[in-house]
């Protein structure tokens, strides 16, 4: 049976098919590799967005350090949250508001209020004390949206670009498997000695094969989350293109317009209690109040998804004036499947070993993409001889800018986060400015140095040294500005800050080693490069 299967497989994956797959695999990687690197890197950071947020918003570390576990005792919305909403509104009439309740990883609550004249947001402790503005978008509102939308929200342009790159990633993974038919041998193949180019190919194949199931899963489920937006064919056919109506129907959402008649809000705590009864356990994660102060107000209670894979937040809708249940509808089996697939991507479930695996496998995706680009560069260098063409230089600069450049920009933003004074206007935008400016400078640096060097190669060692110095600086700056050095973090049980500091320190050490080794490495001799042949 197996012999027959292999024979059939051999026939399916003919040498001609493998040859035909090489072109799209190569060029999808070369053209979209930089973008995919950004998506994979920021996605990996997003796994620990809450922890990075604690690091970047020292004022919000209070809960973990001083109050202890807060999520055990559900906080009172009526006593702790509603007064904060009124404080944020500052006398203006509130239209809608929502609160993300504290949880194990975020010991503070985050509020967003829409009033008749402008929006307001804030962070408050579990007992309802409004904290000073955090002054940063942090990982949750910058790194994470960069991962899925490139911060291009208008017309879902960002979703379209990211999903296009993701489909290319899928095609790259599938074509990679076809090109590279001897998958199982490569579990045991990594030749770190000798030729750089062969090592790169081995590392590319090794990460590609070992982490293939994760990469397939994470790429597919990433598109699945926004599938009705990027492939709205079905919504067009059955809902006349009305996305909102589809989501209302699929996810059991409920909405109604304002009535214009003023009415007070009913107590929220009994609604949360009723929602928990309907769920049969679990915790409330987010509470929305739509049409606040209106006779048609609606209260929505979302469930925390930490105790299951599915991203189904099981929303329960109440009449805001009477407190009566309006809607609680379980999704159908296929929508429920969609929610589980989405949940697999989000990894919002409470499981620390899996979070680390998601983080490391995501970074393995960066290795896969990066080694692919490096391999192309090394191979092309041979084809081009001593003076590579403009295309080669562009890819070299792109590869450098999207790997070390991206790291430098991220670390520069984190350093700026610790260095900028608290009071400066639009502090969060200054941080974002630092990120993009540093990134652009790194790309320009890479482009210039690649062009003028004797043996063309991007300035890897210089940028690696910059990564090392910035990462080390971040640890020191966190110590100086917050007084929380690793020793104190251990004593206080502040694992979030300790973890970020440790990863920063590891990054610094690794980048420094790489930088020193690259300086010592003799430039590759073209004569020996030309001699080597390999199969892809």
């Amino acid at each position: 049976m197996t012999a027959k299967m292999t024979a059939k497989k051999r026939k399916l994956i003919s040498p001609a098919l493998r040859a035909a797959m090489l072109w799209p695999h190569t060029w999808a990687g070369v053209t979209l590799g930089g973008l995919l690197m950004l998506i994979f890197f920021m996605g990996s950071l997003a796994v620990f967005a809450s922890e990075i947020d604690r690091w970047m918003m020292p004022a919000t570390r209070v809960g973990a350090v001083e109050v202890g576990p807060v999520s055990l005792d559900p906080i009172s919305l009526d006593h702790a949250v509603v007064p904060v909403v009124e404080k944020l509104a500052a006398g203006r009439a509130v239209r809608d508001w929502f609160v993300q309740l504290p949880d194990e990883r975020r010991p503070v609550m985050a509020l967003r209020v829409r009033t008749e004249s402008g929006n307001a947001g804030g962070v408050a402790t579990a007992d309802g004390t409004l904290l000073p503005p955090v002054g940063t978008l942090g990982a949750g509102s910058f790194f994470y949206p960069l991962h899925y939308s490139l911060l291009l929200k208008a017309g879902f342009v960002g979703y379209w670009i990211v999903c296009f790159a993701s489909v290319a990633m899928l095609a790259g993974l599938i074509s990679g498997v076809i090109i590279h038919a001897r998958i199982f041998k490569d579990f045991f193949t990594f030749r770190s000695w000798g030729q750089l180019r062969r090592s790169l190919l081995d590392l590319h194949n090794l990460t590609g094969v070992l982490v293939l199931p994760f990469h397939l899963m994470i790429t597919v489920t990433g598109i699945v989350i926004v599938l009705p937006i990027v492939l709205p064919a079905g919504v067009q056919a059955l809902y006349g293109g009305d996305l909102l109506r589809f989501y209302d129907d699929a996810l059991g959402n409920y909405s109604r317009p304002r009535s214009g008649i003023a009415a007070p809000l009913a107590p929220l705590d009994p609604m949360v209690a009723e929602a928990r009864r309907l769920w049969g356990g679990g915790e409330a994660a987010v509470v929305f109040v739509y049409n606040a102060g209106d006779a048609a107000s609606v209260v929505r209670v979302n469930r925390d998804t930490g105790d299951h894979i599915s991203l189904d937040v099981q929303p329960v809708f109440f009449d805001g004036v009477t407190g009566a249940l309006l809607k609680y509808q379980a999704p159908g089996p296929i929508v429920a499947t969609h929610r589980v697939l989405s949940g697999l991507h989000f990894a919002a479930f409470d499981h620390w070993p899996l979070r680390w695996l998601y983080f490391l496998f995501g970074l393995a995706g960066c290795v896969l993409i990066g080694t692919g680009m490096l391999y192309w560069m090394e191979k092309r260098r041979v084809a081009h001889g001593v003076t590579p063409g403009l295309g080669w230089r562009s890819v070299a600069a792109l590869a450098c800018g999207s790997t070390t450049g991206l790291l430098i920009a991220t670390l520069a933003m984190m350093a700026a986060n610790r260095l900028l004074p608290a009071g400066i206007p639009s502090r969060e935008l200054v941080e974002v400015g630092v990120f993009f400016l540093t990134w652009i400078c790194c790309a320009i640096h890479a482009a210039i140095r690649t062009r003028t060097d004797q043996t063309p190669n991007p300035p890897w060692s210089g940028q690696c040294a910059a990564v090392a110095l910035l990462a080390a600086a971040c640890v020191v700056l966190n110590w100086i500005t917050t007084g929380e050095h690793p020793g104190r973090a251990v004593a206080a049980g502040d694992w979030a800050v300790l973890g970020v500091d440790l990863v920063l320190a590891l990054t610094a050490a690794a980048a420094w080693r790489v930088s020193r080794r690259l300086v010592r490495r003799p430039d590759p001799e073209l004569s020996t490069l030309v001699k080597v042949t390999d199969h892809a």
Binding site: G234, A237, I334
Partner: protein, 109 residues
């Protein structure tokens, strides 16, 4: 993997294919495959609705199916020996599926 089995000798070979030829393939892989997936999702949604599925269920099921087909269809545009065949199947198939789903939509409710 039925598509892969159909590839006898893909175009190109040793000779470098022209830029126009590769552009046609890339366009087929990007727009042809997306059009085909669109047709599949629209047709599947209508079919599901006619078969009595809840609309949201039918939309989700057909979209998920189309998403699986999309990258395979895109790669097939590079594997098919003649790019015109690729365009005919992906583009033509997409248009046909959309037309049928439009018709089903008019006949259905």
């Amino acid at each position: 993997m039925k598509t892969a089995g159909q590839t006898g000798s893909p175009g190109g070979g040793k000779a470098e294919p022209s830029r126009l030829h590769m552009a046609a393939r890339v366009a087929a892989a990007v727009f042809g495959a997306y059009g085909f997936a669109w047709g599949l999702a629209a047709f599947g949604a209508e079919l599901g609705a006619l078969a009595g599925m809840a609309p949201a269920e039918a939309v989700t099921a057909s979209s998920l199916l189309a998403l699986v087909v999309l990258p395979v269809a895109a790669l097939w545009a590079f594997a098919v020996p003649r790019v015109t065949v690729g365009w005919a199947v992906l583009g033509g198939g997409g248009v046909l599926l959309i037309a049928v789903s439009q018709f089903a939509g008019m006949a259905g409710p």
